[in-house]
Amino acid sequence: MTRFYKITLYIVAAAYSLLLSGCSSESDEPLMTDVEISITNEVNGQPLVLLDKTYTNPSGDTYVVHDLKYFMSNVKLINSRGEATYIEPDSYHLIDEQIGKRAFTLKNVKADTYTKLEFGLGVDAARNHSTDQYGDLDPSSTMVWDWDTGYKFLSLVGTYVANTKEGGLVFHIGGDTNYKTITVDLQQPLKIQSSSGNRIQIVTDLNGLFLEPNPIDFDEINTAMTGPAAAKIAENYSTGFFKQVTAN
């Protein structure tokens, strides 16, 4: 009789737990949603205009931008506990001023409170020398040199007038060592509570490429690819390019 009672208890307990888990899987289903990342490239607080505007860099040289493109890759969201709970797969986004591509969408982001955004500027070494096409990686795009050299991480092309000379401004920054992982604090945390309206807005400042820690004077440097000049600009973009990151 005791044994029968025990078995019955087990069955009831099992059924109950099954019922509970059934219920909990419905009510605790975590909210998964999209987060839109949008970027405004600015110069001295004004949205960048290609070709028709002349800008002044921190060294006092003037310049006109014909095109600006760069890769944001390996995007992660870090929550208030410091955990990277969102890691975007095959994460390669080309920001392209020429065609006005300044936004991308993170898919299936779990509801949480996120306080930091992490991403790479450029293409990581693993994908930089392959012809695989993930995300916006495209071995036939203007962001490529050839298969050996890999991708241009950031391309800024224009013209300049400096104190002693004038000419073309060609910053094609690439090379594995210039791939920089950048972590930025969100000015307010991104609290995902519903499935719409989750956005992160990023504002850059082009002059940040020429300021700190390496001031760039166009009299001295008006071109860079993978050498020391490129390394200087890469250091600058890892600290001073992404000015302001807000969430709503």
Binding site: S140, W145, T159, G167, V170, N222, M225
Partner: protein, 370 residues
């Protein structure tokens, strides 16, 4: 009123007979009864990108490509029935014509040089000035241009409709034996999307199936490199516009040919002064076959092209591309300043881009002479 079996029997027999005829391959031209196009299998070579776009309303089919090939080689698309697309786009010259400026049915020159049709699948802006944004739209231009084939689409449709061969081909390709402007252009676009060139020595080198000479390797390196005289990096700077394995980054540039423009190129299309003098950087695949060079065919040889960038560039040309303006192998140099030996090596590399199978491929040849 009811029909008796007796009344219906002849109809039934006739239907049987028709079906039998259509399935017999020996009796042309069989009445076509079924629209069932076969999808065309594009084999994309490993050295070319995978991100081409085919318009959803014009998928490639075997029947559409065959039809397009016939139309491409058919003189009926010209006003006086003397020219086809292939008059200027000749397969043995990688679909160019060897002339500085192309000619139309009046034997008068147009204002530009014929462009190669290799690998157009990967492009979205066509003509030297980017005026056509799809191959379907592009195909209309030369047919209607008074300086080129000088025919109206309406006349072309009527001439094609009146032939015995085309209406069944249009049915097989598009499910309608009534010829239409839209379907002529679609078929031409389908055929052109199959013109893939990726079996040059360069492709085989990339696949480690072929060895380059040291001079060719150096030529390739110079081709792809933007010079940085401050760092001792020498380069021909070609890859800044003709990079990637398509040998074109699909951009539009003023490459310093003139100080004043007879032809505004892209600027005439966009209306922007800053686009004046800009022309498409075409693919350099098969470039040794596609002389003369530039939008107006002003340079007869590759040596003349290299000399232009190296020595004769018009530095003060309005809107000169920064990628060119900045590129010199001498500090503060205003042209490329390569050595004669470096120019020779770049030209050696350019010859590795010739694809002899592309220019002999039966599938791309004139179907009327077989």
């Amino acid at each position: 009123m009811m029909y008796s079996v007796k009344h219906l029997l002849p109809v039934f027999l006739l239907l049987c007979c028709l079906t039998a005829c259509s399935s017999d391959p020996d009796i042309p031209p069989a009445p076509v009864t079924e629209y069932k196009p076969t999808p065309y299998q594009l084999n994309i070579p490993s050295t070319l990108p995978r991100n081409f776009v085919i318009p959803p309303d014009n998928p490639l089919t075997e029947e559409g490509v065959v039809l397009g090939r016939h139309l491409f080689y058919d003189n009926k698309l010209s006003g006086n029935n003397t020219m086809s697309c292939a008059t200027c786009h000749q397969q043995q010259l990688a679909f160019t014509d060897g002339k500085s400026l192309s000619f139309g049915i009046q034997r008068m020159p147009t204002k530009r040089s014929t462009m190669s049709l290799a690998n157009m699948l990967w492009f979205s802006q066509f003509n030297w000035d980017g005026s056509a944004t799809g191959l379907e739209a592009q195909a209309r231009g030369p047919i209607e241009d008074p300086l080129e084939m000088h025919e109206t689409m309406v006349n072309a449709v009527n001439k094609i409709q009146r032939t015995p061969i085309y209406p069944p081909m249009f049915f097989k390709a598009f499910g309608d034996s009534t010829v239409s402007e839209e379907n002529i252009l679609k078929a031409l676009a389908q055929f052109q999307r199959t013109l893939i060139s990726a079996n040059s020595r360069y492709d085989r080198y990339l696949q480690s199936k072929e060895v380059f000479t040291p001079d060719e390797v150096e030529g390739m390196r110079l081709f792809m490199t933007h010079p940085e005289p401050g760092l001792g990096i020498r380069g021909g700077n070609c890859g800044d516009c003709h990079g990637g394995t398509l040998l074109s980054l699909k951009g539009f540039h003023n490459n310093g040919l003139d100080y004043t423009f007879k032809d505004n190129g892209l600027g005439a299309i966009t209306g922007r002064e800053t686009d004046n003098g800009k022309f498409k950087a075409p693919t350099l695949r098969n470039i040794a076959l596609t002389a003369p060079y530039m939008h107006d065919g002003r340079f007869k040889t590759l040596e003349e092209v290299l000399d232009h960038y190296n020595e004769h560039l018009i530095y003060n040309s309005p809107n000169l591309d920064p990628l060119i303006k900045e590129a010199s192998n001498m500090p503060n140099g205003r042209t490329l300043k390569l050595t004669p030996d470096e120019k020779r090596k770049i030209i050696l590399f350019l010859h590795t881009l010739t694809d002899s199978t592309f220019i002999q491929d039966e599938r791309f040849s004139n179907p009327f002479t077989k």
